[in-house]
C-alpha cells in the first residue's frame, strides 16, 4: 500500500497518493473516488471547492469506537450554503455508552432505528469527491473515516484535509500541538472549536451536533484565511 511521506517538514504529495491508491485498491467504489483525484496543489484557496465535515463518535479510539452522526457542509470562502449540508444519524456497530448519549444528545432509541454507516458511504463519497475536506482536529475524522470504511469495504480511505485546529495552533506558535496529541478527551474538542471561533468574534453555537459543528468549522476557516493567509494561498500550504 502506498505510504504518505508526511513525516518531518515534507508536505504529503496528495495527488500522487490518490493516483496510486486508485490503481491499487480492489474496491471499485474507492477506486472511482481516488480516481477523481484531489485539487491541484497550486489552486488558490479562494477558488477551492471545500467541504466541512464533522463526526460525533462513541469514543475517541477509531478502532474501538464508532461514528454516531456525520455532518457535511459544502462551501467556498465566498459562500456557505447550509441548504447543501447533509446530516446522518447512524447506528454504531459498537456500543453507545451512556456518557456519549448524554454528550451528543443522541439517544439509544434514535440510533436503534438508524442505518449503518455502510448505507451512507456512497452518498458521503459523492459529497466529498472533488472537494477538499475541512475538519477541526483531523486526527479524529481521518482515523474514524478510515476505520469505518475499512471495516465495511475492506480497504481504508485517506485524503487531504485542512485542519482548522492545527491552523490555529500554527498561528499561535504555542507548544499546544505536542500537548494536543497527548490530550485525551474528545469533550475538549468542541470547546476548542468554540474558543477558536471567539478569537474571530464568531457567534457561539450550541455544539456537539455534527452539522452545527461542520458549519462552525466552515465559518472558522473563512475567518482564519482572512486574518492569517489570503485567498491566493495555495491549498497545498494548508492541507495535511
Amino acid at each position: 500500500m502506498p505510504r504518505l511521506s508526511s513525516k518531518g517538514s515534507t508536505r504529503p504529495n496528495w495527488p500522487d497518493y490518490m493516483a496510486a491508491r486508485a490503481q491499487q485498491t480492489q474496491v471499485p467504489r474507492l477506486a472511482s473516488f481516488f480516481a477523481q483525484g484531489t485539487l491541484d496543489p497550486d489552486m488558490p484557496i479562494g477558488e477551492a471547492p471545500l467541504v466541512a465535515m464533522d463526526f460525533e463518535t462513541t469514543g475517541l479510539d477509531g478502532n474501538r469506537h464508532d461514528i454516531v452522526s456525520v455532518g457535511v457542509m459544502p462551501f467556498t470562502l465566498s459562500r456557505i450554503r447550509p441548504a447543501d449540508g447533509r446530516y446522518w444519524v447512524l447506528s454504531p456497530r459498537r456500543q453507545l455508552s451512556d456518557e456519549s448519549v448524554a454528550f451528543h444528545h443522541i439517544t439509544h432509541a434514535e440510533v436503534a432505528d438508524a442505518p449503518d454507516f455502510a448505507s451512507i458511504i456512497d452518498e458521503l463519497l459523492t459529497v466529498l469527491a472533488g472537494r477538499l475536506a475541512v475538519v477541526h482536529y483531523r486526527q479524529l475524522e481521518r482515523t474514524f473515516l478510515d476505520a469505518a470504511i475499512r471495516e465495511r469495504l475492506g480497504d481504508g480511505l485517506l485524503m487531504p484535509m485542512i485542519d482548522t485546529m492545527s491552523l490555529e495552533a500554527r498561528i499561535h506558535r504555542q507548544p499546544w500541538w505536542a500537548r494536543l496529541r497527548r490530550w485525551a478527551g474528545r469533550p475538549m474538542a468542541s470547546i476548542r472549536l468554540h474558543e477558536s471561533r471567539q478569537r474571530y468574534h464568531l457567534p457561539a453555537y450550541t455544539g456537539h451536533h455534527a452539522l452545527v459543528d461542520s458549519l462552525a468549522t466552515a465559518e472558522l476557516l473563512q475567518a482564519q484565511i482572512l486574518y492569517h493567509y489570503d485567498w491566493n494561498t495555495p491549498v497545498s500550504a494548508l492541507w495535511r
Partner: protein, 653 residues
C-alpha cells in the same frame, strides 16, 4: 435537511421584520440563507456594484456611507441592509458598506426576498419605509433623546489610536496629530491569555494598560518637564475607566462624570474599538440639528440644499417636543440658517470664481440676534472692501447676491418684503459707505433711518472677512451712547407697537380698529421687547446682538431698576416659547406656521403668564419715554424729563 438545527431560523425570529413573519415564510428564508464571514475594516459593498441578496447581520457591525463619505447609518446584529438597492430597478449599491467589527453575514437571495415581499405586507412595508431609520427615530423619541436606549457603539466613529508603552512621547504626539486624535491607548503584548487580553490582528495577545490624553501632555509631560524621548508607559494614566460597546450612552456618561474623565475607551468584549469623548455625547444630544448642519455642508447645488428644508421643520418640531427652551431652539435655527447661507456663498464662489475684492456677507435682524423662528424671512447685506470699484466689480457681487438670495428663498427663507437684501444695490456697499450710512442714521435720525437702524443694528458676519462687520459693530457701540437724539427717537419708535393688554377681555383691538379674534405674538410681544432691549443695549454700548446677551450687558449698568432685566428675560422666554410651540403644533397639523395665536386656545395658566409678560413690556415701554427723552435743541442733559416730548407717542395709543 436539518437547517432548523443551525440556529439560523431562531436567530432571525428575534428581529424585525422577521419576527412577525408566519412560520412557513421564515422557514423558507432560513432554508435559503447563505453565509460569509467578513473581517473588521473590510468593504462589504462598493458603490454601484450589482447586488442580488438581502444582507442580514448575524453578528458584528457595519457602517453605511453617503457619497460624500459621511456616515449614513450604523447597523448591528439582527439588522438588514441592501433592501433599498434591491427595490431599485437597476439593483446597484447606492451607499457603500464596510464592517467595523468582524461580521458574519447571512445572505437572503433576491428572489426569496421578492417572494416574501410579495406575500407579506408587513415585511414589504418595513423594507419600503426603510425600517432601520424608523427604528432609530422611535428610539430617539423615547425618553431623553434616547440616552438610555442608544448604545455606546453608535457614537463611535473610528478606531482608537494605539501605541506600545515603549513608544516615545514625541512619536505618540505625532500619531495623535496625524490622526487628529485627542488621546492614544497604550497596549502591550503579553504571553498568556487572560480576562484582560484581546487577540490582535497578528494573532498575539495584547493587553490595554493605559491611556494618554492631550490633557496629559500638559499636566504629566510639560508641567513635569519630561523629555520627548520619554516612553509613553512612564507617564500614561494607568487608572483605566472603560465601557463596553453595547453599554448605554447614559451609563457611559454617568461613568465619565463619576470618574471625572473625558475619554472613555470603548471595548467590544476585550478589544478596544474606539474612544468616547464627552463631546461625542453632547453632539449626540443635539443630534438632529447638527446632523442637518453637517448635511448642509456636503450639498453641491442650491437644488440639493432646497431639498433639505423639510428637515429643518422636522428637526424644529423634534426639539420642541424634546423640551428645548426658546434659546436652544432659536440658536439651532440660526446655526442652520447661517449654514445654508454659508454653503450658498461657497457654491456661488465655486461658480463665479473667487471674489475680486474682499467682502463680508452679513445677516441682519433676527438671524443676527440668533433669534429666528421657523418662518423667518431673509435679511442680509454685503460689505465690500474699500478697494471696490463698481465699474469692474459690480457685476460679480450682483451675481453673488442673486445666487445667495434666490438660494435662500428656495430653502424656505422668504425674500425680505422691505428689500433688505444683498441684491439691493443700496445694501451692497464698501465698508466706508456703510460707516457713513450708520453715522448719518445716528447723527440725523428720521423715520426711514430709524427703521433701518432697528434692522441693521442687529448685524453679524456669516462669510468672508468678519472683521469688516465687526468694525461696524464697534462703530455703533462707540457712537450710539453719545447720540441722545438718536436714542430718544429710537425709544419713541420702540413704543409704536404695544402689547395687547385688551387680550384679557377675550378679544383684541388691533391698531386698525377692527376686532380680531387673534393676536400676533410677534408684532405685539417679542418684537416690541427686542426693540426696547435694543435701545438700552445701544445706550450702554453693548456689542451683543442676542437679546438675552444684551439683557446681560444691560444688567451690568444702572440703566434699569433692579429685577427689571430678569422680568424682561422671563417675558421674552415665555412669549417666544408660546410662539414656538404654536408653530410646532401648526407644522405637526400640516398647517403653515405663523405668529397669530387664538386666545381661545390658551389655557388659563398660560393666559396668566402672558398677562404678566405683556405688562412687563408695557411698563418697560413707559420707562423708555422717561429714560430717553428728546434733548432740547441745544443739547439738554440726558436725564432731564421732558414730558412734552412724549406727546406724539402717547396719542398713538
Amino acid at each position: 435537511m436539518n437547517v432548523e438545527q443551525l440556529d439560523i431560523r431562531s436567530h432571525m425570529a428575534q428581529f424585525a421584520p422577521f419576527d412577525n413573519l408566519p412560520d412557513a415564510l421564515l422557514d423558507r428564508i432560513a432554508g435559503e440563507v447563505e453565509i460569509r464571514y467578513f473581517q473588521a475594516g473590510s468593504e462589504l459593498l462598493v458603490k454601484d456594484q450589482p447586488i442580488d441578496s438581502l444582507w442580514y447581520i448575524r453578528s458584528g457591525a457595519v457602517e453605511m456611507y453617503q457619497r460624500s463619505g459621511r456616515l449614513f447609518n450604523r447597523l448591528s446584529e439582527g439588522d438588514i441592509f441592501g433592501y433599498a438597492d434591491l427595490l431599485r430597478s437597476n439593483r446597484r449599491v447606492r451607499y457603500p458598506v464596510s464592517a467595523i467589527e468582524d461580521t458574519l453575514i447571512y445572505f437572503i437571495p433576491g428572489d426569496v426576498f421578492e417572494a416574501v415581499c410579495e406575500e407579506d405586507d408587513d415585511f414589504s412595508e418595513f423594507v419600503e419605509t426603510g425600517g432601520q431609520r424608523l427604528k432609530v427615530t422611535v428610539e430617539q423619541q423615547r425618553d431623553d433623546s434616547g440616552l438610555m436606549t442608544t448604545r455606546v457603539r453608535k457614537l463611535i466613529t473610528r478606531q482608537p489610536e494605539m501605541v506600545e508603552a515603549s513608544t516615545s512621547l514625541q512619536q505618540a504626539a505625532q500619531q495623535m496629530r496625524d490622526a487628529n486624535a485627542t488621546c492614544v491607548l497604550v497596549v502591550d503584548v503579553t504571553e498568556t491569555q487572560s480576562a484582560y487580553t484581546f487577540t490582535g490582528r497578528d494573532g498575539r495577545y495584547w493587553q490595554l494598560n493605559g491611556i494618554l490624553t492631550d490633557r496629559d501632555f500638559c499636566t504629566r509631560v510639560l508641567a513635569e518637564g519630561k523629555s520627548p524621548d520619554t516612553a509613553v508607559g512612564e507617564v500614561m494614566s494607568r487608572k483605566l475607566i472603560v465601557t463596553q460597546s453595547d453599554e448605554s450612552v447614559y451609563e457611559a456618561m454617568l461613568s465619565m462624570l463619576r470618574n471625572q474623565v473625558h475619554h472613555l475607551p470603548v471595548l467590544h468584549r476585550r478589544q478596544p474599538v474606539g474612544v468616547l469623548h464627552l463631546s461625542d455625547i453632547v453632539r449626540h444630544e443635539t443630534h438632529s440639528s447638527l446632523f442637518l448642519v453637517n448635511n448642509i455642508f456636503v450639498q453641491n447645488t442650491p437644488e440639493q440644499l432646497a431639498r433639505l428644508s423639510p428637515e429643518v421643520r422636522t428637526g424644529f418640531v423634534r426639539m420642541v417636543a424634546d423640551g428645548a427652551n426658546s434659546e436652544m431652539v432659536c440658536r439651532a435655527l440660526a446655526t442652520i440658517g447661517r449654514a445654508f447661507t454659508q454653503r450658498l456663498l461657497e457654491l456661488a464662489e465655486a461658480e463665479l470664481g473667487p471674489a475680486p475684492v474682499p467682502y463680508c456677507f452679513m445677516v441682519l435682524g433676527s438671524m443676527a440676534r440668533e433669534e429666528p423662528t421657523i418662518n423667518a424671512d431673509q435679511d442680509n447685506a454685503l460689505v465690500l472692501d474699500d478697494s471696490y470699484d463698481p465699474a469692474q466689480h459690480e457685476a460679480y457681487f450682483e451675481a453673488l447676491a442673486k445666487f445667495v438670495c434666490d438660494g435662500l428663498a428656495a430653502c424656505g427663507y422668504a425674500y425680505c418684503k422691505g428689500d433688505v437684501m444683498a441684491t439691493n444695490p443700496r445694501w451692497r456697499q464698501p465698508l466706508a459707505v456703510w460707516k457713513r450710512y450708520f453715522t448719518e442714521w445716528m447723527d440725523e435720525p428720521n423715520g426711514e433711518r430709524l427703521l433701518h437702524s432697528s434692522i441693521f443694528f442687529d448685524l453679524a458676519p456669516v462669510h468672508g472677512e468678519a472683521p469688516m462687520v465687526e468694525s461696524l459693530q464697534d462703530l455703533i457701540a462707540e457712537l450710539a451712547p453719545q447720540r441722545p437724539v438718536f436714542l430718544a427717537a429710537l425709544a419713541r419708535n420702540a413704543k409704536n407697537r404695544t402689547p395687547p393688554l385688551g387680550f384679557f377681555r377675550k378679544f383684541v383691538m388691533e391698531q386698525d380698529g377692527e376686532h380680531r379674534k387673534s393676536i400676533n405674538l410677534k408684532r405685539r410681544g417679542t418684537a416690541p421687547l427686542t426693540d426696547l432691549v435694543r435701545v438700552h443695549a445701544l445706550a450702554c454700548g453693548s456689542k451683543a446682538q442676542n437679546s438675552f446677551a444684551r439683557l446681560d450687558d444691560i444688567a451690568q449698568t444702572k440703566l434699569l431698576a433692579d429685577g427689571v432685566t430678569e422680568r424682561l428675560r422671563y417675558a421674552f422666554e415665555f412669549m417666544s416659547m408660546v410662539r414656538i410651540r404654536h408653530q410646532a403644533d401648526a407644522i405637526e397639523q400640516g398647517a403653515e406656521p405663523d405668529n397669530s395665536i387664538d386666545p381661545e386656545n390658551i389655557d388659563s395658566r398660560e393666559r396668566h403668564h402672558l398677562k404678566d409678560a405683556f405688562e412687563a413690556i408695557s411698563n418697560a415701554q413707559k420707562f423708555l419715554s422717561f429714560r430717553y427723552t428728546m434733548p432740547s435743541r441745544q443739547g439738554a442733559s440726558k436725564g432731564a424729563a421732558q414730558p412734552g416730548g412724549n406727546a406724539s407717542s402717547r396719542s398713538r395709543r
